[in-house]
């Protein structure tokens, strides 16, 4: 029991405290690869701290939806994080929500952030919300199809069961269905976290903004909650990817040692994935908005192929 609580506490701490670090690492690595010095990896923490000490300006045109959206965005991200196995195959909330609840809770956060974007009446907010909802709508079927393939292999949509099934067959990730599904989910990860080639997190240029346009009017603590929530969401999706496809180091036991070992493996895997994302970001140019559906269509076809190739074995 104590170990279960300790594990859940650990998972909560990692989500809250380490998520910004990975955002920082991705930023710094990207700068290095582009032969810039880039910010320190801890810059994201400093930004958050700065925002936490700023006053807020609420647009006169906005209603309570504007103020409510950051809370929903932030809390859904954490709740989802607690449903995904991180260091062991066990996740504190895995009984209370499987992969479907994860995807729909993320959609819940997005729903309110899009409302918040539209609430101010500025055209940028509307632009961001419209684009975000469009892209997520096209990304969703690809994501579901790929995750279904994994779920069908594990005979469950419960994430602990899925991770457990992956652990028990350690070479399963080499099966064609798993590789195709991984590729599909990776493309969706890029789209959902707003990275190049779908969205550029560094831009504030009207023509290319998606996520940034939605949150343009937010300031101070609300902005901090959103930025923090966004980095947690990113870590959550990366965790989902590494732990359902490459469950190395995930132990099915609930001991402190297993959790510690699991944590080391987990950081190594996420770091590796971060490097992979950085490589994709630096070697690609941002796509025109109406090219993005084609990319997501590729992801959907990869997902469908993954499903069909389950017949191979």
């Amino acid at each position: 029991m104590i170990q279960v609580i300790a594990n859940s506490g650990l998972q909560l701490l990692v989500l809250l405290l380490v998520a910004p670090l990975f955002s920082g690492i991705i930023k710094t690595l990207k700068a290095r690869l582009q032969t810039r010095r880039g910010p320190c990896v801890f810059q994201f923490y400093r930004d958050l701290l700065k925002l936490f000490r700023k006053g807020m300006v609420i647009p006169e045109t906005a209603s309570w939806i504007f103020s409510g959206a950051p809370y929903v965005y932030f809390t859904t991200a954490i709740l989802v994080g607690l449903m995904i196995p991180m260091t062991t195959t066990y996740a504190p909330f895995s009984l209370f929500g499987g992969v479907l609840a994860v995807i729909y809770l993320l959609a819940f956060g997005r729903f309110f952030l899009a409302l918040g974007g539209l609430d101010t009446g500025s055209s940028f907010g509307g632009l961001g919300s419209s684009r975000e909802m469009t892209i997520s709508a096209i990304a969703e079927p690809a994501m579901m199809l790929a995750l279904f393939t994994v779920a069908l292999g594990a005979n469950s949509t419960n994430l602990s069961e899925m991770a457990g099934a992956a652990v028990s067959q350690s070479w399963r990730f080499l099966a064609p269905s798993q590789m195709l599904a991984f590729a599909a989910v990776f493309i969706v990860l890029i789209a959902e976290t707003g990275r190049i080639p779908v969205d550029n997190p560094a831009t504030h240029l009207e023509l290319t903004m998606i996520h940034e346009a939605m949150i343009l009017e937010y300031s101070g603590l609300y902005l901090a909650l959103i930025e923090w929530g966004a980095s947690i969401r990113q870590l959550v999706l990366m965790t989902l990817l590494v732990n359902t496809f490459f469950p190395y180091g995930l132990s099915s036991e609930q001991t402190l040692f297993a959790a510690g070992m699991g944590l080391c493996f987990y950081f190594a895997k996420v770091l590796l994935l971060a490097v992979f994302i950085v490589l994709i970001e630096t070697t690609n140019a941002k796509l025109r908005l109406f090219r993005v559906p084609e990319l997501l269509m590729v992801a959907f076809i990869l997902g469908a192929l993954a499903l069909i190739s389950t017949f191979l074995f």
Partner: protein
């Protein structure tokens, strides 16, 4: 013994409805009295129907009454079994909410419209609905069905001075008669096989039918019930009829009247036919997928709030069809537990959709009541003058987008789980189709979220566009109570899903011959489970509580920070551009532009820009802009059909010479033919 209270309640509800109908008609001169009678008796009848529905769901044995009529094949037979109880319960919840809502809503009719006639039609609609759900004789069922169609057409065309309403009422009447005709032929086939028109004799009738008869009967019933439910491609009457009706009626039309189609399919395909070949289920599943995706795609393009909701009904009927299709396939393959899972998905979604769609229509009615327009492009900022309506509408929007922990998520979760279960439990082709259908459900869900972000935000958020803020007011209290009742139902059915689910057990036992609900609840009754090969668990109760618990520290943090560092209101930053006006806002058309481009193959969007200038095109005096999407089904399917029928009728005119001698010859020839037909060996 158990029959007695149920019978009394049922009889009393019928008396309340018919008495209310007559009383409202008689009191038509006194508008205020007519309004009170109309809402009061409907409320009383609805409460009785609700009690009856609950009793029937809980008790084991169905209650049945039959009075012979002396006419062959026709009898006044009613069976109040669990299935009837379930649909009556859904009807009752909606009717209670709508009756309360109408109490103030009908006030604007006073002095302008005949409330007596409205009350008459309204009561007859409730009466015929409950007759349809309980009738146990094919002809009694058809009479209820036809009365319902006529009354609903009357209510659709209630604003009869408006051309669009009249046309919609006509279209509704035509479509209902076509579907009634299909059902009549379908029942004729069943009666031919069983020799009786009682539903009881139809039990497991599929086993006695030849495959040709079964195919014909299935297609006839599928057409009839599908048309009533508004599936694509028989949907065009739905977005025409539901928006033009008075809003309280729209709520019932989308909430429960189209569900008669769902009821009929479950009654005939699952209760009467027994086991059907799996292609039947496959057809239902595929039609469901197509309706869901296309329905929501058309909903996204609407800027008429009530039309948007009507299209979204098509989408949700599609989702229900997916569940029914999956249940039929599982049954054909001999998996009763999985069939139970899929059937719970379908019936729970029927219940949920009734709640949130009626809520949204009542919300739209409240907006229409206060602003006088259905066009979202003119609205905006309504959350300030109408906070309660906005809050209720938001609950409905979250629920219909299938977001946890509200009720839409629960039934979509069951639908996903049953589709996933299909992978391991069926043949090779269907195996692939099931997860693909699941991914299309994901597309539907995400598009629905986009659609309702648009519907809520454009209507209620940001700055008011055309409307003067001070002229808009919150609706009277009884309308708010009606909406609040349904909003509460959405929350309770979502968070309390594990407590509601046992109510379905009697119905599952009746339809599948075994109790399945116990398999779908674990974790001290807190967790929903799909105890199937592709199992999974979810707990909306824990998700709801978890969100609340996590919300507290976040709120505390922000409140403390705001106290120390300040929180003030200021003009929107808007990238430094001063003077934000409502003209800067995203409109409904602008919001859906990106999706219009992505799905341009389907929409075939067109736009026309004409500018008028004197000297140079750079100094236009006037610009005319027009844009629209192609109504594919009307243009490619219905217009050619209409032309065909018209050209045939023109040819038929040749024999309609108007001469009485010719008609006498026709009658004579027909008589001889009939005699020949009658004495044929």
């Amino acid at each position: 013994m158990t029959m007695l209270p149920l019978g009394a309640v049922f009889a009393l509800s019928l008396v309340a409805y018919s008495g209310g109908a007559v009383a409202s008609l008689l009191s038509w001169r006194e508008a205020g009295l007519a309004r009170r009678i109309c809402c009061g008796t409907a409320l009383a009848g609805a409460i009785l129907t609700g009690i009856g529905g609950l009793l029937a769901l809980v008790q084991e044995t169905p209650a049945a009454w039959s009075v012979s009529s002396g006419i062959p094949l026709f009898s006044y037979s009613f069976t109040y079994d669990a299935l009837a109880g379930f649909f009556n319960l859904v009807l009752a919840i909606l009717a209670i909410a709508v009756s309360i809502y109408s109490f103030s809503y009908l006030k604007e009719f006073e002095g302008k419209r005949n409330i007596g006639v409205f009350g008459f039609l309204f009561h007859l609609m409730l009466l015929s609905l409950t007759v349809v759900f309980t009738a146990a004789n094919a002809f009694l069922f058809l009479i209820g069905w036809e009365v319902l169609a006529l009354v609903a057409a009357g209510l659709v065309a209630f604003y009869h001075e408006d051309r669009a309403s009249r046309r919609a009422g006509f279209l509704y009447a035509v479509m209902s008669h076509i579907d009634g005709g299909c059902l009549l032929l379908g029942f004729a086939l069943l009666i031919k096989v069983s020799g009786s028109a009682e539903f009881a004799t139809f039990h497991n009738i599929a086993a006695q039918m030849s495959s040709g008869e079964l195919t014909a009967a299935f297609l006839l019933f599928f057409l009839g019930f599908g048309m009533k439910a508004g599936i694509i491609p028989f949907h065009i009457w739905l977005p025409a009829a539901h928006p033009v009706a008075p809003s309280n009626v729209s709520g019932l039309l989308s909430g429960i009247v189209i569900k008669c189609g769902i009821y009929g399919m479950i009654r005939i395909f699952l209760d009467s036919f027994g086991v059907v070949p799996s292609w039947v289920g496959l057809l239902v599943l595929i039609v469901g997928v197509v309706s869901a995706v296309l329905g929501v795609l058309y909903a996204l393009m609407e800027h008429d709030l009530k039309r948007l909701l009507a299209y979204s009904s098509i989408e949700n009927v599609g989702i229900i069809f997916m569940g029914i299709g999956a249940a039929l396939i599982f049954r054909a393959n001999g998996h009763p537990l999985l069939a139970g899972l899929a059937l719970i998905a379908a019936t729970f979604h029927t219940l949920n959709h009734a709640m949130f769609k009626c809520l949204l229509f009542l919300g739209a009615g409240s907006v229409l009541h206060s602003t006088g327009t259905r066009n979202m492009e003119n609205m905006g900022g309504l959350i300030r003058p109408m906070p309660v309506t906005a809050f209720c509408f938001l609950i409905g929007a979250v629920a219909i987008s299938g977001l946890p922990p509200l009720n839409g998520f629960v039934s979509e979760w069951f639908t996903y789980q049953s589709l996933l279960a299909g992978y391991g439990a069926t043949g090779r082709l269907t195996r692939i189709l099931f997860p693909l259908a699941g991914s299309m459900l994901a597309l539907t869900g995400a598009l629905a979220a986009a659609c309702f972000v648009k519907a809520f935000a454009i209507t209620f958020l940001a700055l008011p566009r055309e409307l003067k803020q001070h002229e808009v007011h919150e609706s009277p209290r009884s309308m708010l109570v009606g909406m609040g009742f349904l909003a509460t139902a959405c929350v309770v059915l979502g968070v309390g899903a594990t407590w509601v689910l046992p109510l379905f057990d009697g119905m599952m036992n009746q339809l599948l011959g075994q109790r399945v609900v116990g398999h779908f609840i674990t974790g001290n009754g807190l967790v929903l489970a799909a105890s199937t090969p592709a199992g999974g668990t979810v707990s909306t109760a824990v998700i709801g509580v978890g969100l609340m618990v996590l919300l507290l520290p976040a709120i505390f943090l922000v409140k403390a920070g705001a106290k120390q560092f300040g929180r003030k209101r200021g003009p929107a930053w808007d990238c430094g551009l001063p003077g934000l006006t409502s003209q800067n806002e995203y409109t409904s058309t602008a919001f859906s532009k990106a999706l219009r481009m992505v799905f341009s193959v389907l929409y075939q969007p067109r736009r026309e820009i004409q500018s008028v200038f004197d000297i140079s095109p750079y100094f236009p005096k006037e610009i005319r802009f027009e844009s629209g999407i192609e109504p594919t089904f009307e243009k490619r399917l219905y217009n050619p059909l209409k032309q065909l029928i018209l050209s045939w009728s023109k040819r038929m005119r040749a024999i309609q010479a108007g001469s009485i001698h010719a008609y006498l010859v026709y009658i004579f020839i027909t008589l001889i033919l009939l005699l020949l037909f009658g004495v044929r060996p």
